[in-house]
Subunit: 155 residues, 2 copies
Amino acid sequence: MDLQESAYTRSFRPDDEAFGWDGVEVLAYKVDGSAPFRAVTRQVLFEEAEHGCQLRYFEVSPGGHTTLERHQHVHAVLILRGRGSVLIGSEVREIGEHDLCSVPPLTWHQFRAADDAPLGFLCLVSSERDRPQLPSDEDLAALRADPAMAQAIRT
Amino acid sequence: MDLQESAYTRSFRPDDEAFGWDGVEVLAYKVDGSAPFRAVTRQVLFEEAEHGCQLRYFEVSPGGHTTLERHQHVHAVLILRGRGSVLIGSEVREIGEHDLCSVPPLTWHQFRAADDAPLGFLCLVSSERDRPQLPSDEDLAALRADPAMAQAIRT
C-alpha cells in the first residue's frame, strides 16, 4: 500500500500554511478589482463532465468577505471549517462547521469570516451558469435601510 | 437575528447522537439484505433540479463498511470526519478528514471505517444514475488473488 501516490485519492495537507489538497491549485477568488471582496481563495475540488457541476472550496481569511452579489444559478454550501456569518436575502446568520446554506436564484448573498477565525466552505454550482450581478446604488440603499443588513454588508 | 428559524440555512447538530443536520432525515444506506454492508447511514444534503446532482452524507460506524460494488456513474467523495480505508480499483488506501476520492466508471470500490473511529463522507453523484453491480464469485476470486485486496474486502 503506497501512501504517496494514488490514481484516485488526493490527500489533505494539514501542515501547509494554505488549507489545501495535493494537486489542487489555490486560485484567486476573482480578478482583483472586478468586484468588491477581501481575502478569499478558491480551489476546484471536483468537476466531472457527467455531473455538470463544480464542487469548489472557498476560504475567507479572518475579517474577510466574499462579494455581495446575486445570480440566476443556485449555490449549495457546506461550511467545512471555521466560522463567520452569511447574508442570504434579508437574513443574516451566524454559521459554523458543517452548517448548510442554500442560496436561491437572484438572491443577494455574502459570506463573511469572523474577525478571529477563517471561514472555509464547499460550494456546489452548475458548470454552466450566469455571471453574478453586483448591487446598484439603489439596491445598496434598499439593503441598508435595515440596520442589521447595513452592519452585515459593511466593507 | 433569529438563530432558530431560517429559510436558507440548516444547522449542524453537534450534540445529537447521530451526526446530522436540522431537517435532514437519517436514512437507511440500502434496503437490508439487498447487498452486503454493515453499519452505514445516508443523508441527502442537497438535490437541486438545476444541478442534476445529489450531495449525500454517508456515515460508517466503527468496524463497518459500504457495499463492494461498481457502476457506470462516478463518485466524487470528500471525507468529512473520522478515518478508515478505501478500496478503489486495485488500490487500498488509508483515508482521513478532508481527503478527496474519485471513483471512475465501472471501478470496484468500498469504504471501510477504522475499528475505533467512524468514517463520514460526502459523495456527489448524478441524480440520474445506473444501479450498482455486485461482484460475481469469479470477480471476488480475482480480487482475492492479491493478499492486500483479500484483506481489504474481508466481511
